[in-house]
């Protein structure tokens, strides 16, 4: 099988992931999109491992690492989302803006920073 098929598929997967990360509002779906991006990378790794006939199978080993890290990251991410949901009753990314810079009227900017938070 030519390497171009898995690469195109992984590019598509990655693009869908990017779209999801940038555009979805639900935090869970954002996390899932991240997962899609990671798996697109995994697909690439495996495909090129085969294509290049790596004798040490570095691509496959790296894939296992990525899967493990992705699982850990997802667990952490879901825990955070759960905690946010418990306090805010929402997981809408657009409305979670507690870390935004307080924007004041222009001209009143003195030595700022110490009173921004």
């Amino acid at each position: 099988m030519h390497v171009v098929y898995p690469v195109v598929i992984s590019a598509l997967l990655f693009s869908i992931g990017v779209y999801g990360v940038l555009a979805r509002r639900n935090a869970i779906l954002v996390l899932m999109s991240v997962e899609l991006m990671l798996n697109a990378v995994n697909l690439n790794l495996v495909a090129f491992d085969v294509w290049l006939r790596d004798r040490l199978h570095g691509g496959q080993v790296l894939t296992l690492f990525v899967i493990v890290i992705a699982a850990a990251e997802l667990g952490l991410g879901l825990a955070i989302v759960l905690a946010v949901f418990r306090t805010r009753r929402t997981v809408d990314v657009d409305r979670l803006r507690a870390l935004a810079e307080v924007v004041r009227a222009p001209g009143s900017g003195r030595l700022d920073g110490e009173d921004a938070l």
């Binding site: 990017v18 990360v21 940038l22 555009a23 657009d94 979670l96 803006r97 810079e101 924007v103 030595l111």
Partner: protein
């Protein structure tokens, strides 16, 4: 014998140290008596070392008179042939070595006697004059320090040692003029004296450097013997002349001296009449061979002296403050010495220096007595004091006679020596100098007569004054001053009267004769000046004879607006420049710092607009950057 010289210099210094450190030692428990104890101790510290120094100086003169003839053909080599020199150590500086040398020859000992005698008289006088002064201990200590510094100048065998004494004198002058610093005018006068003399001292120091590097050493003998090219010599002596003009209050650096009268009157007698201002003349005499080898410098000195003597005498004629009259007369008389030096006679200059030192110190001490009595410096407040102050009247009369150059007082002989030296001078400016000197003789007679008549004759204008401000001695009490003030004046009257006779006797022993023809001319001119003033005063005793100047009087009283000109030409532009610098510092330098901070804050405000809390926006930016980098990497490789 050099140990004696060192002792003469160091005794007043030790007195100054003791006066500053020990007068109040252990007086804390004495309560109200502490002031008295400190005062008495300070008086002893002041007088005893001064007296010992004076005695040692006299002994030194006697031993020099009998010394071996090693002096090198200067005017004193007949009279005081001895010569001593001792070097403590030579300081290797890496280039021109400095030798800590004291020397003693006829010139030193002549000036030294003047210094110690006047200083002793002033110290004794001050005991009475400053009786109620809480800062008397520091005052007398500074006078001692000043005496020590002047003696160091006189006995210095090395230009750097001389310069050290020269600068300490400047410092003491500053401290003593500003003794009553509570009054703003006094501290300003002190600062003015310090700054103006310092301006000259810069030139002086560089003159020393030029001489020292050209001669390869600062020892005065080496400098005078060294074979220095004439151009260098002219430059060096002109630079030295700046310092001399500053210290000796010659035009154009004379403006500090009249203001220096803000100090206590004994200080005016000691520093601003008899000794410190004489230091400049002394230095020229000390380095006279170098000046003789640089005729242009002497011409400059002659012109400066000619302008200074006449201008200052005219200014003295119009002043109303007795001490300022004497101050301007000091400038005028110092210009006489400068003219004698310019004409090539260091003998006449030194003769006039010594006699002027005696009679001007006498005049100032008497002026102090008068001021002490009247409670005011102004001549218009005096008058008719002849009966109230008989002793002061006679001593001051001797002083004024010497000042005007009337025989047999000392000023007659010394001024005659100066005039005949100027008459025989060969420089291109000599006719001008001689004319100025003769005119000044007349004006001197006039202002001496005016001050004398206005102070001691005519209707009494004395009135009891209210509590005087600091700077004006005491309240009118209608009696002669205490004896400690009368004695010094009386003692100084003796040399003021007789020094001329002794000097001319010594001079004729050395082959210098009094020239009676020019002497008669100058006497006639002086009497003419005095006579005009007398006639004017006689016609209206209650009016000021200075009115004979007519419309010219106000410029004379303001000393020809030199102060105003300096204020306009130097002081104000400097102040303006200083303010501009301050503004530049505040606006430009500080502005740059503050402005960069503000600009950074403003720019960061723009960046902060992007931080809106939406994490997806940040990631978008991140991806955009990533894409940019990737595209750039692809395109550029």
């Amino acid at each position: 014998m050099i140990a004696v010289v060192a002792l003469i210099v160091l005794l007043p210094f030790a007195a100054a140290a003791a006066g500053l450190l020990a007068t109040r030692l252990g007086t804390r428990n004495l309560g109200p008596r502490a002031e008295r104890v400190a005062y008495r101790r300070a008086a002893w510290f002041a007088i005893v070392p001064g007296g010992v120094s004076a005695a040692l100086t006299v002994w030194l003169a006697a031993s020099l008179a009998g010394g071996a003839g090693t002096s090198e053909g200067r005017f004193w080599s007949e009279l005081l042939p001895g010569r001593v020199e001792g070097t403590l150590t030579v300081v290797e500086t890496g280039s021109v070595p400095i030798s800590l040398t004291l020397r003693d020859d006829g010139l030193s000992v002549l000036t030294g006697i003047l210094v110690v005698v006047v200083a002793l008289a002033v110290q004794v006088y001050s005991v009475g004059y400053m009786r109620d002064e809480p800062r008397y201990p520091s005052y007398s200590a500074f006078v001692s320090l000043f005496t020590s510094a002047m003696l160091l100048v006189v006995y210095a065998g090395d230009l750097i040692v001389l310069y050290a004494g020269w600068e300490i004198m400047g410092l003491c002058s500053y401290l003593l003029i500003g003794h009553w610093w509570e009054d703003r005018a006094n501290s300003r006068a002190a600062v003015k004296a310090f700054l103006v003399t310092r301006l000259g001292d810069v030139g002086f120091l560089f003159g020393i450097f030029v001489l020292g590097t050209a001669a390869g050493g600062f020892r005065i003998d080496d400098v005078l013997r060294a074979d220095i090219p004439q151009g260098t010599l002219i430059a060096a002596t002109l630079l030295l002349l700046a310092g001399v003009a500053g210290k000796s209050a010659q035009v154009p650096l004379h403006t500090w001296l009249p203001d220096a009268m803000a100090g206590p009157t004994p200080i005016s007698a000691l520093i601003h009449a008899a000794t410190m201002v004489a230091a400049g003349i002394f230095v020229v005499a000390r380095l006279y061979p170098a000046f003789l080898a640089a005729p242009p410098t002497l011409d400059v000195l002659g012109v400066v002296a000619a302008v200074g003597m006449l201008g200052a005498a005219l200014a003295a004629l119009a002043q109303d403050d007795l001490k300022r009259v004497l101050a301007y007369s000091t400038i005028s008389q110092l210009a006489y010495m400068g003219a004698a030096l310019a004409a090539g006679s260091d003998l006449a200059a030194m003769f006039h220096l010594v006699s002027h030192g005696a009679f001007k110190a006498l005049l100032f001490l008497c002026a102090g007595l008068v001021i002490h009595h009247v409670g005011s410096n102004l001549i218009s407040h005096m008058g008719g004091l002849r009966r109230a102050l008989p002793i002061t009247f006679w001593t001051m009369t001797i002083g004024f006679a010497a000042l005007a150059g009337l025989p047999p007082a000392s000023g007659f002989f010394s001024k005659d020596a100066v005039l005949s030296a100027v008459e025989h001078g060969t420089g291109p400016a000599q006719p001008f100098v001689y004319a100025s000197a003769l005119l000044t003789v007349g004006v001197t007679g006039a202002y001496a007569a005016r001050a004398w008549l206005r102070t001691f004759f005519g209707p009494a204008r004395v009135e009891p004054l209210a509590e005087p401000p600091p700077g004006v001695a005491h309240v009118f009490d209608g009696r002669e001053a205490p004896r400690s003030m009368l004695w010094p004046a009386g003692v100084l009257a003796v040399p003021a009267l007789l020094l001329g006779l002794a000097g001319s006797a010594a001079g004729s022993a050395a082959g210098v004769k009094v020239e009676w023809g020019p002497a008669a001319v100058s006497l006639a001119v002086a009497l003419l000046g005095a006579g005009i003033v007398y006639a004017l005063w006689r016609s209206a005793p209650e009016q000021d004879p200075a009115r004979l100047l007519g419309p010219f009087r106000v410029p004379c009283e303001r000393a020809f607006y030199v102060d105003a000109a300096y204020a306009a030409l130097v002081a104000r532009p400097v102040l303006r420049l200083a303010r501009a610098v301050v503004r530049t510092d505040a606006r430009v330098v500080d502005g740059a710092v503050r402005g960069s901070g503000r600009a950074t804050l403003g720019l960061s405000g723009l960046v902060r607009l992007a931080q809106n809390g939406n994490a997806q926006l940040y990631v978008t930016g991140l991806f955009a950057g990533l894409v940019l980098i990737a595209v750039a990497a692809v395109v550029l490789t």
